[in-house]
């Protein structure tokens, strides 16, 4: 087994890079920060990594629309390059703003294998940012590193998280053909469009996507804020019930699985 190297992207307004880095390190990876200016100056650097992580935040203030300005900055020099990186076996994770950037780059859901903005992440129906813990169910998807059938509590924290596909038919296809990796669910475990269990109103309750190859994952809620047991909102009840805290919080599975897959293949 190798220690997979993970490139944790920094950019003006990206603000979850430290927790993303720590979660990867905790999972056994070797993460390092690379600023977008450094990467644009030397795009070849990407080839030295097993995985790319685009953390959450407000890149360039989310001006115009979330992730748009950073995606525009990246597109020319890095868009096709990331596509090739994935084709060669690289893994990509985008969390929250990182997911928005990957969508604007056309890397997700990438059903046709080429850069194309097939979906958007747009304004919550509430018209404002909100931070709340949501319950997700992972689907049987194409994703190589998000196991199916898990019920996970992660915090969502966004103002533009409503995933809308170009057509209702495509929205349905995302679920039916394994692109939708995680769904917002209600108290019965059913995918929901109802607020607040679905915090943004995304049709069919889609919270995360993978691409055709299953090697790119984008999620709106934050595994990088739920990977430690004390991150969980109700950890005191868990501690009371079990007598002790579990090793991980619910978000850790993404980092562990991603590192496991990268290490096994590397």
């Amino acid at each position: 087994m190798t220690t997979p190297k993970v490139l944790v992207l920094r950019a003006p307004g990206i603000n979850c890079e430290r927790e993303t880095q720590h979660a990867f390190a905790r999972a056994g990876a070797a993460p390092s920060f690379v600023h977008i200016r450094q990467l644009l100056a030397a795009p070849d650097r990407l080839d030295g990594f097993a995985a790319l992580a685009v953390p959450g935040g407000f890149s360039y203030g989310d001006d115009i629309s979330s992730g748009r300005v950073l995606a525009t900055e990246m597109k020319q020099a890095l868009g096709e390059r990331i596509l090739r990186f994935v084709a060669r076996g690289g893994l990509v994770l985008g969390i929250c703003n990182g997911f928005q950037v990957l969508v604007r780059l056309g890397l997700l859901p990438c059903t046709q294998g080429r850069l194309d903005e097939e979906v958007t992440l747009t304004h919550n129906l509430s018209d404002h940012y909100e931070c709340r813990w949501v319950t997700l169910r992972t689907t049987k998807s194409r994703c190589a590193f998000l196991p199916p059938g898990l019920t996970l509590r992660w915090p969502a924290a966004h103002g533009e998280g409503r995933l809308v596909a170009r057509t209702p038919a495509l929205q349905r296809l995302l679920v039916d053909e394994g692109y939708a990796t995680a769904l917002y669910v209600d108290e019965h475990g059913q995918a929901t469009e109802r607020y607040p269990q679905n915090p943004n109103g995304a049709p069919l309750g889609i919270a995360g996507l993978t691409d055709h190859s299953g090697r790119v994952l984008g999620v709106m809620p934050h595994p990088d804020r739920s990977y430690l047991p004390t991150h969980m909102p109700d950890w005191r009840r868990t501690q009371l019930a079990r007598g002790t805290l579990p090793e991980d919080g619910d978000g850790m599975v993404v980092f562990r699985e991603m590192v496991r897959v990268a290490a096994a293949e590397g």
Binding site: R10, E130, C131, P155, A157, R166, T230, L245
Partner: protein
């Protein structure tokens, strides 16, 4: 200058949340007849671009390919009115107001390989229905915009971009003072907006008479900034005649005296830096600062609150040799949102607009900064109508070895971050004047709009440079801008500055304007010459503008030039020590108040629901959810708790070093209403409440630092100053008993609003913020009940103290018997409960504050979605406390309600030592609250009624309160 216009609109078959919320806002502003509102986003692009370039840019960047469609209009083209809409209103930033989106548009142009020409933005709302245009414009100015910073156009669109600015006035202006009499001096101060009094103007007159010359305008402005109440705290550091004696330097002999006397070993740096610093672990310290940003928030709530957050973040970033901000707090005081319009004086914004604007301002600055907002509270009183209070706090972490800074002669003066514009000129002096009905128009120059991403770049750059040890001192540009920042850093040395190279947002600024501008997102660093090149290189990598403005010298003088011409040459000793010491009179007499004679409470359940539905107590979830309280992954105790994440938490718990369990507990205490009876009670209860909140969550009362933040109506009136002195003495006496040192503080002393019929003065407020360091966050608690069958244990004594209570407020009364703190009992309760929590005897804990026992038990039960049964006869009371409403709603201090497993009761008793406590009830499975007296049921309140009453008042989206059961 005419420009291309790009209009982006959500496709007809897509949802338009921005249009929806505009519709709600216009309806809430009283406008009838609207069927729907569609929103548009508009962009202006300078005419140097050709049509193909504009279209390419619009399609690639401005228009979302899935949900938007857009149209491009040539420069000079008239705006076609939207199909079917009755009217449209456009909201456009006023010239000179910061427009961060326009900067990003410009950047994206460059990234696409297009010329990065000038750009602008605007928003349009197309209103459908039967609406009168004039009334729509009126409503839109309040509901969709703030006309202090935005123009609102009816059925018109902005025609272009601002043209070139006029050439700046670069002349050195002498301001002759010789021969002016006191009246003339005061008039000069008033007309120039200097906010200096007669004695101060006379001191300046004497100083320059001695030099045989007149001051320059820049020199006078520099003195006005540095000597402002905001920067110098002249009242609190002045002398006060009080009860037959003179207190010299009130702050030093009270607040700072407590800290000196206690001499706690965890204090690393107090009262000397931007923030108070205490030890966290062997390697790191944590620092904390709380500021107010009241005036700017009164005029422009969104910009004022946002830049308040930005300012206090820079305070922490500039502490020691750079601290990493890890959490924010905010505490607000508003007039009640339902205050009738007739009671809102001219010149004041409606309280609900202020509340929404302030919350949005904190949200839209704090969230993009990536700093979690973890703790706060909101308070309501009619007298905040003209002077809302916006307290903003920030906590940082830094290596203890880098907790102190020292400027050296020869260090370069480097400005970092945002560019300088006219924003915020005279902010420091403005905040030292009272507001009046014309403030909204007079002082709009003092308004600032924040740009958090610029500040984020500054933060990233500063922290990298700090890790590389590239600077020897740092401070933020706050009130007074460069003049205060560089002036303070140069104290004891000297500085030689040339403003010619200061980066400007636009041309046309006179040198004195550059010098005192309060443009946001700027820091000043002292950089050793040998490290300058590396520092500039790191800043460039982080996309953070950095400019050398001059050199620190040892001349003892502050020399400011523009292109070589000297505009100011001030003696630093006079600048910092020359301000005359004020001596003021202070008196106090108890108010003639009486306890109301109320009939015995007939319906205790309804009384409880009324108390829970008061603005002071009701759920603040609508606010809390708009703040990111999770970013940085340090959260171990959240603002909302319980099985549905909706119970109120007493304090925030953070584990700021990822992978370490060592933690910080943060809490606050404030109750403005008590000040209406006795400011001493207000002050000591603020400290006791902050400590109760902190201890209830697992904080250690013996490892806690506190902050004092004063907001007062006026201190020129001896009675008001007497109230301040009395409050100060009370909070200091208690802090000595609790052994909690003050490590930082701030004051805002002129919170009055003058109307044609009189003066509205805020109740004097001291916010106490408490921060504790703990070894292991796993030993912390939340307030929600955990298990049916647990015992509910009330620690402390309930007294006849309904004065100033929410219960009385619901009856329209104030009362007289306001809660006071029994110092010894208070200390023992805090330490006893802490011992019990540390010994793991307690399942949950909640402090008793507004609403007393009734509110506390309701909140604990709701959080856990369990019930509770309380025997009011079991409550430990002082003599004379008999009536159920006294026992349930008295706000006596030093009380904490605990949930304890039955088999842990003996351990609890052992840990509480001699502290009075009793088992007052138990947690039940049935979702209802039952209050009984020795078995005789007095009231039964279903939990869903509790939830409705508690959530409804500030359910501003209509999504929190559950449906009424049918």
């Amino acid at each position: 200058m005419q420009a291309w216009r790009v209009d982006v609109v959500v496709k007809p078959d897509q949802q338009d949340p921005m249009g929806g919320s505009a519709l709600r806002a216009l309806r809430a502003a009283g406008l009838d007849g609207i069927d729907r509102v569609r929103s548009r986003r508009g962009y202006l692009l300078a005419r140097e671009l050709d049509e193909a370039q504009v279209r390419r840019f619009a399609a690639a960047v401005l228009c979302d390919p899935v949900v938007d469609e857009c149209s491009v209009h040539a420069p000079g083209a008239t705006a076609a009115s939207p199909r079917g809409a009755a009217h449209s209103v456009a909201v456009v930033p006023r010239p000179g107001v910061t427009d961060p989106v326009a900067h990003s548009v410009q950047k994206a142009l460059g990234d696409l390989g297009l010329p990065a020409v000038a750009t602008g933005t605007y928003k349009v709302f197309d209103v459908h229905g039967r609406v009168d245009g004039a009334r729509l414009l009126q409503a839109a100015k309040k509901a969709l915009a703030n006309d202090v910073v935005q123009d609102v156009l009816l059925d018109a669109l902005p025609v272009g971009l601002p043209g070139a600015s006029p050439a700046p006035d670069l002349a050195v202006h002498a301001v002759p003072l010789a021969g002016l009499d006191p009246v003339g001096l005061e008039r000069l101060s008033k007309d120039g907006g200097l906010a200096l009094d007669g004695a101060e103007m006379a001191a300046i007159q004497r100083h320059f008479a001695g030099l045989g010359r007149a001051p320059t305008r820049m020199e006078l402005e520099t003195l006005a900034q540095t000597w402002s109440e905001h920067c110098k705290h002249k009242t609190l550091t002045g002398n006060v005649r009080w009860q037959g004696r003179t207190i010299e330097n009130l702050l030093k002999s009270t607040i700072a005296h407590v800290t000196r006397t206690l001499d706690r070993d965890f204090c690393v740096s107090v009262f000397t830096d931007n923030a108070g610093v205490i030890r966290f672990d062997d390697e790191h310290s944590v620092c904390i600062k709380v500021e107010t940003h009241n005036r700017p928030s009164a005029i422009e709530p969104f910009g004022g609150a946002g830049t308040g957050v930005g300012g206090v973040i820079r305070d922490v970033l500039g502490t020691g040799l750079g601290a990493r901000p890890i959490a924010s707090t905010d505490v607000f005081c508003f007039a009640p949102p339902d205050l009738p319009a007739t009671q809102v004086p001219q010149g004041c914004l409606p309280p609900l607009s202020v509340l929404k604007g302030v919350v949005a301002g904190v949200r839209d600055y704090g969230n993009p900064m990536g700093i979690p907002t973890v703790n706060g509270s909101v308070h309501f009183d009619e007298n905040f109508v003209g002077n809302p209070l916006v307290y903003v706090g920030n906590i940082g972490i830094l290596p203890t070895a880098r907790a102190h800074k020292q400027v050296h002669r020869g260090d370069a003066i480097v400005a970092l971050g945002g560019r300088t514009g006219r924003d915020g000129i005279h902010g420091a002096t403005f905040s030292s004047l009272e507001l009046h009905t014309e403030s909204e128009t007079l002082s709009s120059g003092a308004v600032q709009i924040g740009d958090p991403i610029t500040e984020r770049k500054v933060m990233d750059a500063v922290l990298r440079c700090a890790d590389l040890d590239l600077f020897s001192a740092i401070t933020d540009c706050g009130a007074g801008g460069f003049s205060s920042a560089i002036g303070e850093m140069a104290e004891g040395l000297g500085a030689d500055v040339d403003l010619q190279h200061a980066p400007l947002k636009y041309q046309g600024l006179a040198p004195w304007e550059i010098w005192i501008s309060e443009a946001q997102e700027r820091m000043v660093l002292a950089v050793p010459p040998a490290k300058l090149a590396q520092l500039l290189a790191v800043c460039a990598e982080e996309a953070c503008e950095a400019t050398v403005l001059g050199t620190f010298t040892d001349s003892g003088r502050l020399v400011v030039r523009h292109a070589g011409t000297v505009h100011a040459d001030l003696d630093l000793h006079f600048l910092h020590k020359g301000v005359p010491v004020q001596t003021r009179d202070a008196t106090w007499a108890p108010k003639a108040l009486a306890e109301p004679q109320l009939p015995p409470e007939r319906d205790l359940g309804q009384a409880l629901l009324a108390v829970l539905g008061d603005y002071a107590i009701c759920s603040k979830e609508w606010i809390v959810r708009q703040y990111d309280h999770e970013v940085q992954a340090g959260s171990a105790g959240k603002p909302l708790c319980g099985v549905r994440d909706d119970g109120p938490a007493d304090a925030a718990v953070l584990a700021p070093k990822l992978g370490s369990l060592r933690g910080v507990v943060l809490a606050n205490g404030l109750n403005p209403r008590y000040s209406r009876i006795d400011p001493a009670a207000m002050a000591e209860c603020a400290l006791d409440e902050a400590m109760r909140n902190l201890v209830a969550c697992g904080g250690d009362p013996d490892y806690t630092a506190i902050l004092d933040n004063y907001c007062w109506g006026s201190t020129r009136d001896p009675q008001a100053l007497g109230e301040l002195v009395r409050a100060t003495e009370a909070v200091c006496a208690l802090a000595l008993t609790y052994r909690t040192p003050f490590v930082s503080g701030k004051d805002s002393l002129h919170n009055e609003f003058r109307t044609p019929t009189g003066v509205i003065r805020i109740p004097g407020c001291i916010l106490v913020t408490a921060m504790s360091v703990i070894a292991d966050v796993r030993a912390t608690l939340t307030s929600d009940c955990k298990r049916p069958g647990s015992l509910l244990v009330l620690v402390g004594v309930t007294k006849d103290e309904l004065g100033g209570s929410v219960y009385y407020k619901t009856k329209g009364e104030l009362g007289a018997q306001v809660p006071r703190v029994d110092h010894g009992l208070g200390r023992d309760v805090l330490h006893g409960v802490h011992r019990a929590i540390a010994a793991r005897c307690v399942l949950s804990a909640h402090d008793l504050s507004e609403g007393g026992l009734g509110a506390a038990v309701a909140e604990m039960a709701l959080g856990g979605r369990l019930g509770a049964r309380i025997d009011i006869a079991a409550v430990p009371t002082a003599s004379g406390v008999q009536r159920p409403e006294q026992i349930l709603f008295s706000e006596s201090q030093s009380r904490i309600l605990l949930e304890v497993a039955p088999d842990r009761l003996a351990d609890l008793r052992a840990n509480l030592h001699q502290v009075p406590f009793a088992v007052v009830g138990e947690v039940t499975q049935a979702k209802e609250l039952v209050f009984h007296r020795d078995g005789k049921v007095l009231a039964t309140v279903p939990l869903d009624a509790v939830e409705r009453a508690w959530k409804r008042p500030l359910d501003l989206d209509g999504t929190l309160a559950p449906e009424v059961a049918r």
